[in-house]
């Protein structure tokens, strides 16, 4: 459990379309200062007569304590299904029921390290705040962002300030290098002598990055995205098998034991099956 989590009615401050996404800003008062890179929020969607009974999770893109409205939390939302389309249809002064901040956050090394941040699609969102923090701690930060097409890369100008290099990839070659994120990683890791990878994006991407980080024997902290019903640890829907320090595989809740996890400990490819040797299997 994130002990700082609170439930609140957050006011929409702004909602702006950026490429395929919506950059949304919410007024959340003091909660803004409780949010750390990697944390997420859970929002009730659809209004009072909604047919959607579950919360939707969104990674916190950035949080700030200043602003005339007090503390702000910013999200990057892809209008995908019914819930996110409802959310992105909101206008300034509308309110949402939000629980925040939730989940684990990216671990920040005590010593300066050479870090590579890898984001797929809106998975770039939590990486910019992380980059700032790492930079402030004296780390060198390289970044790779990928998506299917140019409009699905979220990389605002101001976000790029903290990174030493930014590489873009798209499946269709509409911007940056044509291909998958993972195609470009080995070269960047080697050239920059990367010590740790931070990642966020689709599960398949995280899994592929883990193979690479394992090969280079570097740390890999990834923010996973399992389908969640509650976001606060009570429903057990968001689990995935993770190997503990005792080498025992357990089904852990990605909403409270994650979303940030040690990539090398996650048993990837576990959709539709429980890995052998899992506790209680």
């Amino acid at each position: 459990m994130n002990p700082r989590a609170k439930q609140l009615q957050a006011e929409v401050v702004s909602n702006k379309k950026v490429g395929s996404y919506h950059h949304m800003v919410f007024s959340v008062g003091d909660l803004a200062q409780a949010a750390l890179p990697g944390n997420f929020v859970a929002i009730a969607v659809g209004g009072p007569a909604s047919s959607m009974v579950l919360r939707r999770a969104f990674a916190i893109y950035r949080s700030s304590e200043k602003g005339i409205n007090g503390g702000l939390i910013e999200l990057v939302v892809a209008p995908h299904g019914q819930g996110s389309r409802w959310l992105t249809s909101l206008r300034a002064h509308d309110h949402v029921d939000m629980v925040a901040p939730l989940g684990t956050h990216f671990g920040i090394p005590t010593e300066p390290v050479r870090a590579l941040l890898v984001g797929g699609g809106y998975g770039s969102a939590p990486l910019f705040g992380l980059a700032e923090l790492l930079k402030a701690r004296g780390c060198r930060v390289d970044m790779v962002l990928g998506a299917s097409t140019a409009s699905k890369i979220y990389a605002p100008l101001e976000g790029k300030r903290s990174v030493s290099s930014l590489t873009l990839t798209t499946d269709d070659g509409s911007t940056g290098i044509s291909g998958k994120i993972t195609d470009v990683l080995p070269k960047i890791i080697e050239e920059n002598d990367i010590e740790i990878i931070y990642s966020c994006g689709p599960m398949a991407m995280l899994s592929a990055i883990t193979q690479i980080s394992d090969r280079y024997e570097i740390l890999h902290q990834c923010a996973v995205e399992e389908s969640m019903a509650c976001g606060i640890g009570v429903c057990m829907t968001c689990v995935l098998p993770v190997k503990g320090d005792d080498d025992q595989i357990r089904m852990l809740r990605s909403c409270i034991d994650g979303p940030v996890m040690d990539g090398s400990r996650v048993i990837w490819d576990s959709k539709r099956r429980i890995p052998e040797g899992t506790w209680g299997a």
Partner: protein
């Protein structure tokens, strides 16, 4: 006129009739961040089995119109760790606990019942018999009168003391009254109505059942009319049998509907996923409605919708 929010659930005196639903409140710790557990009539634990369980593979969940499907598969620590960790912690919080137990065989229920003796803070046992019976082709215990009876009898014979036993029934039966009657004869002090309905969602992208387990349990407001009907039927046929009602309760008004149908207490499940403080909201709203309607206590309202219409 003074109002009392207390209720008697199958012999257990609770300060209010608003409980969590089994499997929908984690271990209690998670919710205690949002409100003190003492505020609850009682906390109902997830269903505890003898051994630790990993639960089912993912995906385990699908949202459905005004509801959701789950196939968690009773993930949990097993009774040993549960008694070692969860029960003392809940007791330390001053929570009233109803332990839900689930077995795969009749013997499982007997073993679990014996472990339930003299636990601090425990005010009742919910016997989840909506589980597959491994000794009988995986048929759900509560779907057959004989196996429903056998499971409850096993608990009754082994529990000792006077801890109330509440048998939780599946709505997926032709005649829910017959099953309720059966478990009542077998020694249940009350029934919990309803567990989830068996459902399925097919993912139209990959064109396969969305849940790894194929089928799952349907819960949430979508099933509320089925729950109300089941409770109304059972209360009409067995007016002396206490009922713990659940199925889609989201607002105080919903809880009131369950009480009018015949429930002495209610559980809030799925609504907590959409709102961590749903149970408190239901509690406050229910109290307000009961007072506003002029009831002096919960028991006056129980089954009130059964009175003759003029």
């Amino acid at each position: 006129m003074s109002f009392s929010f207390a209720t008697n659930l199958a012999g257990s005196q609770l300060p209010n009739p608003v409980l969590t639903a089994s499997g929908c409140a984690g271990s209690g710790k998670e919710l205690s961040q949002f409100f003190p557990l003492t505020e609850l009539g009682a906390i109902v634990t997830k269903s505890i089995m003898i051994k630790p369980r990993s639960g089912r593979a993912t995906p385990r969940m699908a949202e459905t119109p005004s509801g959701m499907l789950n196939s968690i598969g009773l993930q949990g620590p097993g009774v040993d760790l549960f008694l070692e960790n969860d029960i003392p912690w809940l007791a330390s919080q001053g929570a009233r606990t109803i332990v839900s137990i689930a077995g795969e065989t009749v013997e499982d229920y007997a073993v679990l019942a014996r472990r339930m003796r003299n636990l601090p803070g425990v005010v009742g046992i919910e016997v989840n018999i909506s589980c597959p019976n491994v000794e009988n082709r995986g048929m759900v215990f509560s779907c057959q009168p004989e196996s429903a009876r056998a499971a409850v009898e096993a608990v009754r014979r082994n529990i000792g003391g006077d801890l109330p036993i509440i048998a939780k029934l599946s709505p997926d039966v032709t005649d829910i009254v017959a099953i309720a009657r059966e478990v009542s004869h077998a020694g249940a002090d009350g029934v919990a109505l309803i567990n989830t309905l068996l459902g399925m969602v097919i993912d139209t992208d990959v064109m396969l059942p969305k849940l790894a387990q194929k089928t799952g349990g349907l819960s949430g407001p979508a099933i509320r009319p089925v729950a109300i009907r089941a409770i109304y039927q059972v209360h009409a046929a067995l007016p002396q049998l206490p009922i713990l009602g659940m199925g889609g309760i989201t607002h105080g008004r919903d809880a009131f509907e369950f009480i009018l149908a015949g429930a002495s207490a209610i559980s809030v499940g799925t609504a907590t996923f959409g709102n961590p403080t749903a149970v408190m909201k239901v509690k406050d709203e229910l109290e307000e409605i009961l007072i506003q309607k002029g009831f002096t206590g919960v028991s006056e309202a129980v089954g009130f919708a059964h009175r003759e219409m003029k």
